[in-house]
Symmetry: C2
Subunit: 97 residues, 2 copies
C-alpha cells in the first residue's frame, strides 16, 4: 500500500462528484433531509469501513456529515481512501463500486 | 426553554463525569475499544437524540467520539443538553436517567 501521486488522485477525483483534495486527505460534505438520514448513511458506511479495515474521520451535525479520508499508515491518500469514497457514493446513488 | 445559569450548569456537571464547559456548550471525549463500539454508541445515542428532538454535534475517528452539546434556539446550555448528556452516560454506564 503506497500513497497515490497527485496525478492519480486528480484522476480518481474526476469520478467522485463533490469530493476534493484537502492536503493529505480527501473531503466531502454530505447533506441529508434530516438526522435519521444522516445517521443511517453513517451506519451503512460503517459496515464498509469495517470490511475495508479503513475508517473515516467524520463530523455530524443534525443533517450534515462532513467526511475526511486519509491513510495514516502512508501519511497520504491511497486506494483505500478512493474505495471508501466510492462506496459512500454508491450508498448515496447506487452505481459506483 | 431557557438557558441555564452558570451556577446551574456547574451543579449539573458535578454529576456528569468527564463533561466540561466549552463556551455555550458542554463537551466530552468518549474513547472506546474499537470502531464498532464507537459507532454502536453513536447509534444508541441517536435514538435518544431523536426522542428528545435534540441532537449532538460529534466527531468520530476510529474509536474516539468527541461530543459537543449546545442549544441553538437559546444560544446557550439548556436542560435538553443535560438530559442528552445523562443519557449518553447511561449508555456507557447504566445508572443515570
Amino acid at each position: 500500500m503506497s500513497s497515490l501521486s497527485d496525478k492519480q488522485i486528480d484522476l480518481q477525483l474526476e469520478d467522485l462528484a463533490g469530493w476534493q483534495r484537502d492536503g493529505n486527505g480527501i473531503i466531502k460534505s454530505y447533506k441529508f433531509n434530516d438526522f435519521i438520514e444522516a445517521i443511517s448513511f453513517m451506519n451503512q458506511v460503517a459496515f464498509h469501513a469495517e470490511a475495508l479495515e479503513h475508517h473515516p474521520e467524520w463530523h455530524n451535525t443534525y443533517n450534515v456529515v462532513d467526511v475526511r479520508l486519509t491513510t495514516h499508515d502512508t501519511g497520504g491518500i491511497t486506494s483505500l481512501d478512493i474505495r471508501l469514497a466510492k462506496r459512500m457514493e454508491h450508498i448515496i446513488q447506487p452505481k459506483h463500486l
